[in-house]
């Protein structure tokens, strides 16, 4: 396949939708909310062409429970929304993890709290990585920084969700969702997947009933179930953390940024290097599991680490945990849909370097 031949210019949201179909998704349930509307609109147009189903639900609550049902019935299924809608899905996500069914959830996030705004923001980091629903649970959260990566990760998310029988989230922001970049729908890395013999497709009179359930009334049973889930989460921590380290080998100052803010910080690193400051960047690609290994690998030349976020300071907690006191940690953030400028990040870096002197 000549990949350049198939390169298309696409809006992030549409690329994510197409990547989902490319990744085998055939069922989509969602509810309109800006800035992700192109995803359900694309699905409404394209799903029927591949024999799939698009259904606009009456709410995000209903949408995630339709996903829960479809996933339990063995389908590759997805929902997408934006921050306030993802808040409404938390109940369903908790049940889905508890029942061990796979699905993909896309959050093209916007500023909050409350109705907030519709401009790009990264203030759903806690909501995504800490689990907004009840109980001890985790799921993999991908944070693409460009459209190609958004497409690749979305398609792969279905493989990974099936592999672990656990939801996978793709977290973008309005910038990732709305901007256009060239994208190629290339082959998705495959996992060795077991047949979905747990799915509720009807017993056909030949097997015992399958039950999709998160209820365990006996404390000892529930604890055992939790230990089983934790063992899966441990495997994910060990095997699924991803990040990109840029110019960190000799760095004296390291930024940590994901998604849209990582694009800006990458330019900041280049500019600082031109000015003689040895800057570097760790870009988490998975927010959960947090890529702690990249932090362990940092050289002793580092004098300060700074988390740059389009939030009031959320990922910075994980940066501190990953470094465990090894280097001073700073934070620079903008919120509400404001995007930090290269200049202000450079100033924040120089200020911090002075401070840690």
């Amino acid at each position: 396949m000549n990949q350049t031949m198939n390169k298309v210019l696409m809006k992030g949201n549409e690329a994510i939708a197409q990547a989902a179909i490319h990744g085998g998704c055939r069922y989509f349930f969602g509810y309109p909310i800006t800035p992700q509307n192109e995803i359900p609109e694309y699905m409404a147009r394209e799903m029927p062409k591949v024999g799939g189903v698009f259904l606009q639900a009456e709410s995000e609550v209903a949408a995630i429970n339709m996903v829960y049902g479809a996933a339990g019935a063995g389908a590759r299924v997805m929902t997408s929304s934006s921050s306030p809608g993802i808040a409404l899905k938390q109940e369903g996500i908790s049940y889905i993890v508890g029942s061990e069914v796979p699905c993909v959830i896309v959050n093209i996030s916007r500023g909050g709290p409350g109705l907030g705004g519709i401009q790009p923001a990264q203030s759903d980091y806690y909501q995504s990585t800490r689990g907004g629903g009840n109980g001890d649970y985790n799921f993999i959260v991908f944070a693409p920084a460009n459209i190609q990566e958004a497409a690749d990760l979305t398609a792969e998310a279905f493989e990974i969700a099936d592999y672990y029988r656990n939801p996978v989230m793709v977290l973008g922001d309005g910038m990732i969702g709305q901007m256009m970049e060239p994208v190629v729908f290339r082959d998705t890395p495959k996992r060795e997947l077991q047949p979905k013999d747990w799915a509720t497709t009807g017993t056909g009179g030949v097997r015992a009933p399958n039950i999709i359930n998160s209820l365990h009334l006996q404390p000892a049973d529930l604890e055992k179930h939790n230990e089983h889930l934790q063992a899966k989460f441990r495997l994910m921590r060990e095997n699924e953390a991803r990040s990109e380290s840029y110019q960190t080998a000799d760095a004296e100052f390291v930024f940590v940024a994901y998604g849209t803010s990582a694009r800006i910080v990458r330019n900041v690193v280049d500019e600082l290097r031109e000015r003689g400051v040895k800057a570097g960047l760790i870009r988490p690609i998975t927010l959960w599991p947090f890529p702690v290994v990249a932090f362990k690998e940092l050289p002793d030349t580092v004098r300060g680490v700074m988390s740059v976020e389009m939030s009031c300071g959320q990922m910075v907690d994980d940066v501190r945990l990953a470094l465990n006191g090894r280097f001073p940690v700073g934070f620079h953030g903008r919120s509400g849909g404001m995007v930090p400028s290269q200049q202000e990040i450079i100033e924040a870096c120089l200020d911090m370097l002075k401070e840690v002197e």
Partner: protein, 258 residues
């Protein structure tokens, strides 16, 4: 010896946990018998609610899902969209369906979702210990309406079947009761008709069944049966509220038209 009565294959061997005099067990049995008689057990996926029937996924002898409180119709929608040739049903209480899950049931009906809903109306929240339900009658005492439900303060009990019958996507809506053997037989017919409706792809189907809760009503099982007849039925009239012209499989199942 000839067999005159036996356990339906539609139920598992698991013992019911229901209180003495509760009619959830009767209704479970009716649903199970209908699915068995239609030879659909191996082709059915059911959805259990949150409520006293939360464990029904252990009782029905078919594939089952356990939904979040009120979300059974959405979950059933997801299942049915993936498996359009399977029978999909949701079993729900009145708190589950008519309070926290009102949006899900109305829109499942609105879409004409080809699922069957078994709606057990016992005028109270059984599982959580007898709190007021949206279907609790005016004057009825519950733990959260200790002086009796005062409609001027907390509103009027909802007649769900009448409400859903206004929706064009609803193909079959009937209210029945299980307070005596004659009505139990009628209920079974209604359940059969609802599933036949689904099988014929005619749209959304629901049977609302007036049911007892002796424990939380503070009555004996016999008093409870009388209470259904004398107190519930006048406010919740039995009958068919909607049926497609084409479905007459088991003949007329309900009483008069409301």
């Amino acid at each position: 010896m000839p067999v005159v009565f036996e356990r339906t294959r539609g139920l598992t061997e698991k013992e019911f946990h229901f209180c003495p005099g509760c009619t959830h067990g009767v209704i479970h049995r009716l649903v199970a018998e209908v699915l068995e008689e239609m030879n659909e057990l191996g082709n059915t996926v059911g959805v259990a609610p949150v409520g006293c029937s939360v464990l029904s996924y252990q009782y029905f002898n078919c594939d089952m899902h356990e939904a979040a409180h009120g979300r059974a119709p959405a979950m059933a929608t997801g299942i049915k969209r993936v498996l359009p040739d399977r029978m999909v049903f949701a079993y729900q209480g009145d708190g589950d369906l008519a309070s926290i899950g009102t949006a899900e049931i109305i829109h499942a009906a609105g879409r004409g979702e080809k699922i069957t809903v078994i709606f057990v109306n016992n005028a109270i929240y059984g599982m959580t210990g007898g709190q007021m339900a949206p279907t609790t009658l005016a004057g009825q005492r519950t733990t959260t309406s200790p002086l009796g439900r005062d409609p001027r303060q907390v509103g009027f009990p909802l007649r769900v079947s009448e409400m859903l019958a206004t929706i064009d996507g609803a193909a079959f809506i009937e209210r029945t009761s299980v307070h005596d053997p004659a009505h139990i037989r009628k209920t079974k017919k209604a359940i059969r008709n609802a599933f036949e409706c689904q099988k014929a792809n005619q749209g959304f189907s629901m049977v609302e069944i007036l049911s007892t809760c002796p424990t939380n009503w503070g009555m004996s099982p016999l008093e409870s049966l009388d209470w259904v007849k004398e107190t519930m039925m006048p406010y919740y009239p039995l009958g068919n509220f909607r049926r497609p012209e084409a479905v007459t499989v088991s003949g007329a199942s309900g009483g008069g038209h409301a």
